[in-house]
Amino acid sequence: MNRALPWIVGAALIVLPFVYHAPYPMHLMVVVLIWSFAYTSWSVMGRFGLVSLGHGGFFGVGAYGTALLWNTFHLSPFVGIPIAMAAAVMLALVVAYPCSRFRITGHYFALVTLALSAIVQQVATAGRDVTGGSLGYTPERVLGGESILAFQFSDKLTWYFIALGVWAIGLFIRWRVDHSMIAYALEAIAEDEDAAGAAGVNVTAEKLKVTALSAAMTGFAGGLYCQYQMFISPDTVSGISVSLQMVFACVVGGIYVLPGPTVGAIITILLAEGLRIFFGTGALGWDNLVYGTLLVVFIIFLPQGLVGAAWNKLTGARQTA
């Protein structure tokens, strides 16, 4: 049963749009899938106690990099997204290397990476001649609105399958990392860095590997988001609020379980949409009010997240992987 479940869910998700494809639910599905991928990317490193608040920065670099390369140099996103991903990885390594070299962990690591997302947001805002500043930025549309080379599709169905595929790959990557030698090393590091180092684990190398992977995935998510929404602004794709949003969704769903970030994305996005519809335009702020409260409540009472708690109940044991 447990082995079959992922395949059943996967098949259901593939069949779903052929049965039911009203535009608005489709749009929600795509948004949920893209963010699920981004949150999963965060959890790839977050689950090893490497709590980064810099992922808003990586996401922003992915989004702005892709859009800027397309508009300025007419580079297809097929080239642009990898370049933007590389930039995100570079940024991550520039910060992660000294952090890991000088044993900046926990609080310090979170605050140093926080600086990173703040930098990306400030640069995107301050470089208004190039990036459009806080008014946002739009990748140029191709004629007819549809082109494979430009990675622009007017059809929600196409986007659904792209997002579904990306999300599945994201889960697969995280699953692979969780079941690799790196995971053992990183779990040992999370328990006790000195002991892990003494036992022959190359602490810096292992940390940098997983950080680079996580940043690359987050950068990709940013590029994908940009191509789907066709509009980005410093506040929606970078900065502290995006970083906190990632951490929050993962905490609600459960950092240590594979579907945790996805469940977190479903809950947070549906909650925001639901409140928006319920309150109309007067909803401004209400969704974050509920978010903030839930985040505090979850961390105090249910730090392993919804899926994590359910999993523990089912298996009757404390399970970490």
Binding site: G49, V51, V94, V95, P98, C99, F102, R103, I104, G106, H107, Y108, A110, L111, V112, L114, A115, L116, A118, I119, Q122, V123, T125, A126, G239, I240, S241, L244, V247, F248, V251, L284, G285, W286, D287, N288, L289, Y291, G292, T293, L294, L295, V296, I299, I300, P303
Partner: protein
């Protein structure tokens, strides 16, 4: 060549540094004593600024009385934050405490949006600008600088001259031993939270004279305050003081030649570069 604008920017930097040092002091005090980072520190200031706005502009309280009330209000919020969010998490992983206050950040921002709307508001008080040798120095900034320094001296006197202050410093040095020496840790934590909140309240009274208040104003001061604290060495109050002025000068002087946002960008980049050289803070000895 002597540049009068540069001097003006440098002086304004020093004045800004005073306020930033005040912010960093509150955060450092809380970190040093309770070992928690209040990510939502700048949001407490935002609530204090709204308090000032409503008391002064809407209900027409005299400024000084409103200031005292605002300080008390934010101090009370600090205590509440400690009792509701931090106290249950005292033994949790540090990162959980950090994330919980991140939740409070989102909560307070949203609360302000819901309660006060997203309009920019100000007191409508325009303090005069002083002109010295072609340099323009705003009175509001001078006042903020002076008051911030006075506030810091007051906290220093409290920490060094009173029994409670001594107990607070002792806890910051050794969290395990002090309870055995008969110090009531819970009470000390509450007092510290109140002082930390009170400093945020004082900062809000000063900042409301210079900035419009809106629900996201905290994002203007928050990141810079954390970076100052980390640069100075978390919990190191003297380091935070020095770092505040270094940061303020970078922002102010870079802002002279480019947009203000670039000043922040330079300050943040400087921060990350410094992490290579002084990972444990500006004043830390290299181990």
């Amino acid at each position: 060549m002597f540049d009068i604008y540069l001097l003006e920017a440098a002086i304004n930097g020093i004045l800004l540094g005073g306020v930033l040092a005040l912010l960093a002091l509150g955060l450092n005090l809380i970190f040093g004593v309770i070992d928690v980072v209040w990510i939502c520190y700048a949001e407490l200031i935002m609530m204090g600024m709204y308090g000032m706005y409503y008391m002064v502009s809407v209900y027409h309280f005299p400024f000084l009385i409103a200031a005292v009330l605002a300080i008390a209000l934010v101090a009370a919020m600090g205590v509440l934050l400690h009792l509701i969010v931090i106290a249950p998490l005292l033994n949790a992983a540090p990162i959980n405490q950090l994330l919980a206050t991140g939740g409070v950040l989102a909560f307070l921002q949203a609360l302000a949006t819901v309660m006060f709307g997203i309009d920019f508001r100000n007191l409508g008080i325009r303090l005069p600008v002083i002109e010295i040798h072609d340099m323009y120095i705003s009175y509001a900034r001078l006042l903020a600088f002076g008051t911030a320094l006075a506030g810091m001296v007051a906290v220093w006197l409290f920490l060094s001259r009173t029994y409670t202050g001594t107990a607070i410093r002792a806890i910051a040095q050794d969290r395990q031993i002090m309870p055995l020496m008969g110090v009531d840790t819970r009470r000390i934590y509450i007092v510290t939270s109140a002082i930390g909140g009170g400093l945020a309240g004082l900062a809000s009274c000063l900042l409301v004279l210079q900035y419009d208040v809106h629900p996201f104003i905290g994002l203007t001061f928050g990141p810079i305050t954390f970076m100052i604290c980390v640069l100075g060495g978390l919990g190191n109050m003297v380091g935070g003081f020095v770092a505040a002025f270094v940061f303020a000068e970078i922002i102010s002087i870079a802002g002279l030649y480019m947009d203000l946002e670039w000043g922040y960008v330079f300050a943040f980049v400087f921060f990350i570069v410094m992490m290579f050289f002084r990972p444990r803070g500006l004043l830390a000895r290299r181990s």
